[in-house]
């Protein structure tokens, strides 16, 4: 590690990790709508068509079920495909292939076939794209045995998760929160692959644990800062991996602070935050000095106007308020 | 700083560590740790406070010479710019 750090946006980080993957292994190829000529709807694969050619940078027709199924088939056939579903909203058209195909094949075939496939998709709201383009459905996929689900929320993870995912013999879904693409920060110039098992403590604190992932991590950190101003030290845990959940890290955090707020951009009912709350209640009940709190999206289709969208989404202020309530016993 | 100024600094530092210490009743010649409830942590914090207030360097080897209030003040005075020693 040269130790040298550079300034980079998440978009550039994802692009670099994608490019390195294509250079590293000729079995790797990218397939998805507008990934080639147009350079990716979020410009993540900009310039790749010229560099790697149309065989490995494959624009597809608007046939999510077919090209995700084709990705599964190509993985079975010895390739290492990266399928880009432009956003999680369009993944609904490929849900059968992901669930009944990729996730189930190994178990159902008695272990004869496995599907080394990576599917990347943008997720989340916050850019006034209205209900059909603003879903956060990571929790749906994290419900399915047979696949891994990860959510990069830092530049290191944006640079490193794809590398590890491509080496995984099982299907891996990477959710890239749409709000993060333009966000810039500092990262090691030679940042490499990262593990896909553990959650990461992003901020230490004694009084309350804020558990977040993907697009909600920055909100949780913002809340922690404002809490610090009021003498409340909040710990922030970045899940990083949504399936399998790093249960040990979650329970250890609760054992340290005895109070927990779970932040999830999905709708509260049946969400990933519900699963985490259940596990805490099952395995760390004796550590709880206050009820478990969850801050999620309001249970409404995400509205178009900014002020309504903001009101619907989990914001730092609401997170801080929930945490303060637990600590102060308000 | 004059001897009295040094003495005042040391007493103020001591007050932070041991608020219950009454400066008037303190005897300058008797080791502080025999008059007050100071453990090694308190004594270290006292020396740090004195160092910060007077900017006098106090190597660990000299701790032994600083048991009483008078000894501390004398030690500081000797290390004032243009002072003796």
């Amino acid at each position: 590690m040269t130790g040298e750090r550079i300034k980079q946006s998440f978009r550039e980080a994802f692009r670099q990790s994608l490019r390195e993957a294509l250079v590293r292994d000729e079995r790797v190829f990218l397939m998805g709508e507008d990934v080639g000529r147009y350079g990716g709807s979020y410009a993540v694969s900009h310039g790749f068509l010229e560099e790697f050619g149309p065989d490995r940078i494959r624009d597809t027709p608007l046939s999510e079920s077919a090209f995700v199924g084709a990705g599964i088939g190509a993985a079975l056939g010895g390739m290492r495909p990266i399928v880009e579903l432009m956003t999680v909203n369009f993944s609904l058209l490929a849900m059968d292939q992901i669930l009944n195909g990729a996730a189930t094949l190994s178990h159902m075939s008695g272990g004869q076939f496995h599907v080394p496939l990576v599917i990347r998709m943008a997720t989340g709201a916050g850019r006034q794209l209205a209900a059909q383009h603003s879903h956060s459905l990571e929790g749906w996929y994290a419900h399915i045995p047979g696949i891994k689900v990860v959510a990069p929320a830092t530049l290191e993870d944006a640079r490193g998760m794809l590398h590890t995912a491509l080496e995984d013999p099982n299907p891996v879904l990477i959710f890239e929160h749409a709000r993060l693409y333009p966000v810039e920060g500092e990262v090691a110039a030679d940042a490499g692959p990262v593990d896909l098992e553990r959650a990461a403590l992003r901020r230490a604190g004694r009084d309350v644990s804020l558990i977040a992932y993907g697009g909600t991590l920055d909100r949780a950190l913002e809340a922690a800062e404002s809490l610090a101003g009021q003498g409340i030290e909040a710990e922030v845990l970045d899940l990083r991996v949504l399936r399998p959940l790093d249960e040990a890290a979650i329970l250890a955090s609760v054992a340290r602070t005895h109070r927990v707020v779970i932040v999830d951009e999905g709708w509260k009912s049946g969400s990933l935050s519900a699963e985490i709350a259940a596990r805490i209640a099952e395995h760390a009940l004796g550590e709880l000095d206050a009820p478990i709190r969850r801050v999620c999206s309001a249970e409404v289709p995400i509205p178009y106007p900014k002020h309504l969208e903001d009101a619907a989404l989990p914001q730092a202020a609401r997170i801080a308020e929930a945490a303060r309530e637990l600590v102060r016993g308000g | 700083m004059t001897r009295d100024a040094l003495r005042r600094e040391v007493l103020e530092a001591l007050a932070e560590i041991a608020p219950e210490a009454d400066p008037a009743s303190l005897r300058g010649g008797v080791p502080l740790r025999d008059q007050l409830d100071l453990d090694s942590m308190d004594f270290l914090n006292l020396l740090i406070a004195v160092h910060q207030r007077t900017e006098v360097e106090i190597p660990e080897a000299d701790y032994g010479k600083l048991a009483s209030l008078d000894q501390i003040v004398a030690y500081l005075e000797a290390r004032q710019p243009g002072g003796r020693d």
């Binding site: 190829f29 065989d55 490995r56 494959r58 597809t60 027709p61 046939s63 079920s65 077919a66 090209f67 995700v68 199924g69 084709a70 990705g71 599964i72 088939g73 190509a74 993985a75 079975l76 056939g77 010895g78 390739m79 495909p81 059968d96 292939q97 009944n100 195909g101 094949l105 190994s106 178990h107 159902m108 075939s109 008695g110 272990g111 004869q112 076939f113 496995h114 080394p116 045995p145 047979g146 013999p169 099982n170 | -």
Partner: protein, 330 residues
């Protein structure tokens, strides 16, 4: 396009091979019906009786290295492809000795050794998979063919149109083998498709398409050989095999959707006796060959049922095995 003079078997060995293949399928399926009525086979069971000529004729033209993707009516294809009748019957019984460890059952037969990528209970879900397998072969310059069997009912699914378009757009070596048995479950073709000439559908994707009498194994084989030759190293091809299933769609539907007379009419064109007559007329088969092969097939299926009966249920402790890949580096 229909062949001019009626075809004859090339030689005795060819005739014996085709007859044995069809008879083994027929007896296997009848054994399944019997075991189903005895409660040994549960769930859904879709039998191939009547359509044997399609699987045998097409698979006769494949190499060991080609790939097959089939549907939930795949026992015939599995046997024709060389999967042993004992593990196949054990799979029907849900035993761990089954070809999918007993986990798939009738609709999910898998065999890695013969590149049999399975049954599939979701109509048309196999098509994108086949496209992907062919894409992998194309990208790795391998001269392999992927045959995708499906019923005419699949043509109403979006995945059919998406897959046909993708295969044609990228010139992939896929043989789309449509077994048109006139009924999609209980719906006659005319009541589910605006265009009932299936080859016309294929033409809209600039894909060559032929229609073949699926009850004549020699006609099927002749067409399949030319189709496979065209597809190997080339683009996709659509084959409509007009055939008919003599039994219910699945175990014991009351078949109210078709007349008994229609079933009887098609039974006159049963692919097995019609082939035997022609083979005897051409001198390829002797008078007692059919009876001998009939006996061998029946005995084989009694042994298959005994093997399945003697099999074991997978220990519950292995329930979670193979959810994820268990092998080493891949």
């Amino acid at each position: 396009m229909t062949p001019e003079a009626p075809l004859a078997p090339r030689d005795r060995e060819h005739a014996l091979r085709l007859l044995r293949a069809m008879l083994r399928i027929r007896r296997f399926e009848e054994a399944c019906a019997e075991q189903y009525s005895k409660g040994k086979i549960r769930g859904f069971l879709h039998l191939y009786v009547g359509q044997e000529a399609v699987a045998v004729g097409v698979i006769e033209c494949l190499t060991a290295d080609d790939a097959i993707v089939a549907t939930y009516r795949e026992h015939g294809h599995a046997l024709a492809r060389g999967i042993d009748s004992r593990p196949l019957m054990a799979e029907m019984f849900g035993k761990v000795e089954g070809c999918s460890r007993g986990r798939g059952g009738s609709m999910h037969v898998f065999d890695a050794a013969t590149r049999f990528y399975g049954g599939n209970a979701i109509v048309a879900a196999g098509l994108p998979l086949a496209v992907g397998l062919a894409l992998a072969d194309r990208m790795q310059n391998r001269d392999r063919v992927t045959v995708c069997f499906f019923g005419e009912g699949a043509m109403a699914e979006g995945e059919f149109h998406e897959s046909m378009n993708l295969a044609a757009l990228w010139r992939l070596p896929v043989l789309f083998a449509c077994e048109n048995n006139l009924y999609a479950m209980g719906t006659a073709l005319a009541r589910s498709e605006s265009e009932t000439n299936l080859c016309v559908k294929a033409a809209s994707y600039e894909m060559p398409a032929w229609s073949v009498d699926g009850m004549d194994v020699l006609a099927v084989e002749d067409a399949a050989r030319r189709a496979v030759t065209a597809v190997r190293g080339g683009g996709p091809l659509f084959l409509e095999l007009r055939t008919y299933r003599f039994r219910a769609h699945s175990m014991f539907d009351p078949q109210l959707y078709r007349e008994k007379s229609e079933v009887e009419a098609w039974k006159q064109r049963d692919p097995i006796p019609t082939f035997v007559a022609r083979a005897q007329a051409s001198g390829a088969l002797g008078a007692d060959d059919a009876a001998r092969i009939e006996e061998e097939a029946a005995a084989e299926m009694v042994a298959a049922v005994d093997f399945a009966e003697a099999g074991h249920f997978e220990p519950v402790a292995d329930l979670a095995r193979h959810v994820l890949f268990e092998g080493g580096a891949q």
